[in-house]
């Protein structure tokens, strides 16, 4: 009962230095079960360090962190049983096919029927046709989808996504966003790091801003907006953004559209 109610991730007083460089200076936050939590920060803010500590790849100097009720320092094996990490670079095996990558992870998670698990995930992430091809032939978006699919094997209750859309084109980014929303809908807790403000705004139930090794704000989007003076009402002509234009022309589902030509008459 208590473990069910406790937050999926609890971080208290986390500090970490690399030699002289102090990266984390006391980080505290909780992530509620089944929610999407965005850790927002510029490059070098310490986002990846937090994710590495939570996924047991790095040890904190001081402070405690619990994931799914387990202490990352003393119960690392239990933590690894409960999580999946999708790192900053799509960590897929380039020489293996998409399907082989999925089978590999299913085997390493000691699951039955790795072949069926792989086929189901290929279908869920629209990779069935590409499943037999080497992952090195995939586009950036396909690699990321495969990467996330690999993270879902074994249904871990907590998933870490470290900058999942860095380097993706707008369509691939939307595909990844849909996959992340689908995860939360199924009850998975997602901790997401990003340097894109719109990504946090779009996906996250709560947003924390990590700056110079500390969380400087933590709240829902509405709460964060209230930190600023109330909005002034101004009338502004709504111009389509370049993204709107791009996605309308190209089509969000990737289907070919009729060529458009911009003319003056």
């Amino acid at each position: 009962m208590t473990t069910q109610q406790a937050p999926a991730i609890q971080v208290q007083g986390l500090e970490k230095s690399y030699k002289e460089l102090q990266v984390l200076r006391g980080v505290d936050f909780d992530v509620a079960r089944g929610s999407i939590f965005a850790l927002l920060g510029s490059n070098g803010a310490g986002k990846t360090t937090v994710v590495k500590i939570l996924s047991t790849l790095l040890k904190a100097d001081t402070g405690t962190a619990r994931v799914h009720g387990f202490d990352v320092a003393t119960q690392a094996a239990d933590v690894r049983e409960s999580i999946s990490l999708t790192g900053q670079f799509a960590a897929v095996d380039e020489i293996l096919s998409g399907r082989e990558n999925l089978v590999l992870v299913a085997r390493l998670r000691h699951l039955k029927n790795p072949g069926k698990i792989a086929d189901d995930l290929l279908a869920r992430f629209s990779l069935t046709d590409a499943g037999g091809r080497k992952a090195s032939t995939y586009s950036g978006g396909m690699r990321r989808r495969l990467d996330i699919a690999m993270s879902l094997i074994g249904d871990p209750p907590v998933i870490f996504l470290d900058e999942p859309t860095t380097g993706l084109d707008p369509q691939a980014r939307i595909e990844v966003w849909q996959a992340i929303k689908e995860l939360a809908r199924r009850g998975t807790t997602v901790l997401l790091t990003t340097q894109y403000l719109d990504e946090a705004e779009h996906l996250a139930d709560r947003i924390a801003i990590l700056h110079q090794g500390r969380i400087i704000v933590n709240g829902t989007l509405t709460e964060l907006k209230q930190l600023l003076p109330p909005a002034k009402v101004e009338y502004v002509e709504k111009q389509p953004t370049l993204e709107d234009v791009f996605l309308t022309l190209v089509g969000t589902d990737g289907a070919a559209q009729k060529p458009h030509t911009a003319t003056n008459n």
Binding site: I83, A90, V92
Partner: protein, 253 residues
């Protein structure tokens, strides 16, 4: 987690062997340099080298086999480096697996790949006239020494594989190892070398290993060389293993 060690190592070994099967050039390029050296030494220099009556290809094959291993382990470092750089190493380490199986799979892959290269080189040597009266037990002893030597060099290769920052750095460590047999009894008898060089050549690991393998191939009594050879292999293996595990522990904590 150790209950999964064997299964996880087997799964990851299967993955690495698939890499090798899909790029067999790593086996070919490993074997091609020693084969080219063998051709050059036997047909170009061999006629001018006096090794006391023995056929030159018989004389130099042990040294060539060690060079094969020394060039083969560069790929071990390379494969490990690519896993580190691509993030898949971290993915594996964040999963509920026996963590050290990631390293052991690379070590076993190195052993298998090098043994295949060694077989290729021996077959070419047979075509070039290599003959040995050695029986099964002598061949098994040779195989045992080569396996031990491969494991020792593989654990050396793990260190740059884990710690290198560039691909060149990950494989450059193997050049001195490839060069070492030239300063030994592998190609010419050491007694023609000038004093200090001769002292070095006679007391470095390659000479004792080459002499032991050569004696086994020619069905000669192996004498103390084999114990010195085994001592070197086990010693290098132990030291390299300690340093590699130290580098590994620093990577995962």
């Amino acid at each position: 987690m150790t209950k999964h060690f064997v299964g996880d190592t087997a799964t990851l070994l299967g993955r690495s062997l698939r890499h090798i099967a899909r790029s067999p050039d790593t086996i070919i390029t490993t074997a091609i340099m020693p084969i080219a050296m063998m051709l050059m030494f036997v047909y170009v220099f061999g006629g001018a080298i006096n090794v006391g009556g023995a056929s030159y290809v018989n004389y130099m094959l042990p040294g060539i086999l060690l060079i094969t291993v020394a060039s083969g382990i560069a790929y071990t470092a390379f494969r490990l480096f690519m896993d580190m750089k691509g993030g898949i190493f971290e993915r594996f380490q964040s999963m509920p697996i026996a963590r050290s199986s990631v390293l052991w799979a690379h070590v076993l892959t190195s052993l298998i790949a090098n043994l295949i290269s060694l077989v290729v080189v021996v077959l070419v040597a047979l075509l070039m006239g290599f003959r040995s009266p050695a029986g099964v037990s002598a061949w098994l002893s040779v195989a045992g020494i080569l396996i031990l030597f491969t494991l020792a060099l593989t654990w050396i290769a793990v260190i740059p594989g884990l710690t290198a920052t560039t691909m060149e750095g990950a494989s450059a460590f193997s050049y001195p190892l490839i060069f070492l047999p030239f300063l030994s009894s592998a190609f010419v008898p050491t007694d023609t070398m000038p004093g200090p060089l001769r002292a070095f050549a006679e007391h470095q690991p390659v000479t004792s290993i080459v002499n032991a393998i050569r004696d086994l191939f020619t069905e000669q009594p192996v004498g103390t060389d084999i114990w010195i050879a085994l001592g070197w292999c086990v010693g290098i293996l132990a030291v390299a293993y300690a340093f590699a595990m130290n580098a590994y522990r620093r990577k995962i904590s």
